[in-house]
Symmetry: C2
Subunit: 204 residues, 2 copies
């Protein structure tokens, strides 16, 4: 028998169980009792830690976002800009490719379930949205390193386009699409997008 976990650890474990349920069965697959049973804890445990279903989903959104943020910070820190200029694929592209398999694919699917549910739950929406700016800031840093001449306003726009593209790719991954075969290929596309959006707006 493992020792009884502390409350923070227990909350994280219950959220991780809910992430798997979300990925497998969608929002309808998540209830306090289903999390209890899947986690192998006594009935009532999940509702002790998270009083309402919305509170549970908000906690799951925070857990997913914190894990994603940790991944993205690690992937974009102290990293060569890559793409057209480096021999190794960028940390960003490598990370996006990893969202197509294993535990990260489960998290990707859970994230899209939460995003759709957020349209019906303002508090869940707020929980997800509070991380949006932090993700965007990290992508802006990546884009700034790809620019020849740093331009912050342009980088914001380029980062938005890169984020929408990556979001579409991850959504396609979650649906089984495998059109992009390597991080190097993805890097080339990201570099192309950044350069193209740069030229397009420089012309205006």
């Amino acid at each position: 028998m493992r020792r009884k976990p502390n409350p923070d650890q227990r909350r994280r474990e219950l959220c991780d169980t809910a992430i798997r349920l979300l990925a497998d069965d969608g929002v309808k697959g998540v209830s306090h009792l289903k999390v209890d049973r899947k986690a192998g804890v006594p009935d009532g445990t999940t509702s002790f830690y998270f009083r309402t279903r919305s509170a549970l989903l908000q906690a799951v959104a925070v857990r997913v976002s914190e894990l994603d943020l940790k991944d993205l910070i690690a992937a974009t820190r102290a990293q060569t800009p890559a793409g057209l200029t480096a021999d190794e694929p960028s940390g960003l592209a490598t990370l996006v490719m990893r969202t197509a398999t294993g535990a990260r694919l489960i998290r990707t699917k859970a994230r899209y379930e939460l995003a759709l549910q957020a349209g019906r739950d303002p508090l869940l929406d707020e929980a997800l949205r509070s991380y949006g700016d932090r993700f965007r800031a990290l992508i802006v840093d990546v884009v700034l390193r790809l620019q020849d001449k740093p331009d912050r306003a342009l980088a914001d726009r380029q980062a938005y386009v890169v984020m929408m593209f990556i979001s579409g790719v991850m959504q396609a991954f979650a649906s089984g699409d495998r059109s992009i075969r390597s991080a190097a290929e993805l890097d080339a596309l990201i570099s192309g997008i950044v350069a193209g959006v740069g030229s397009s707006f420089a012309l205006r």
Copy 2:
């Protein structure tokens, strides 16, 4: 009292009701009985036309895809390439902007619910996937018109990136994001993406 509709018309009406339920309440909001009640038809009508829940969702996927395809054909036919070269926004950009409001937003939300559910339902996945190639072909045509020198292999790749970007934007619209304010702005981004991916791969 309206006259009793013919079977095809009845099927379409039930699918349209299911689209609204999907958008409002997600996949869990769709059952034969809920569609009956929401459509104001006698209990059992929906299960008479669609025996299983999967059959109902497949029919809804076909309905959503047919409506989207009709919109996309109208938007991309006999249309100037637009973006950097035309004064009017392109049909494609205008259509994407329209997915952010009204009946098309309802359909956008329903489409993402179906896409997630498709990961758990191979027949639903097949129903959605069968339209993928037709959407892609229309976007390839748009991209070919943006190329200086027609290059089909390159157009396939550019079209993929444009589709992933548009998918990300529509998903963001469905979550309430309104970062892109006009079809002209969207056109500039699409043109930039096409040009940038073109240059990026020409360099390799």
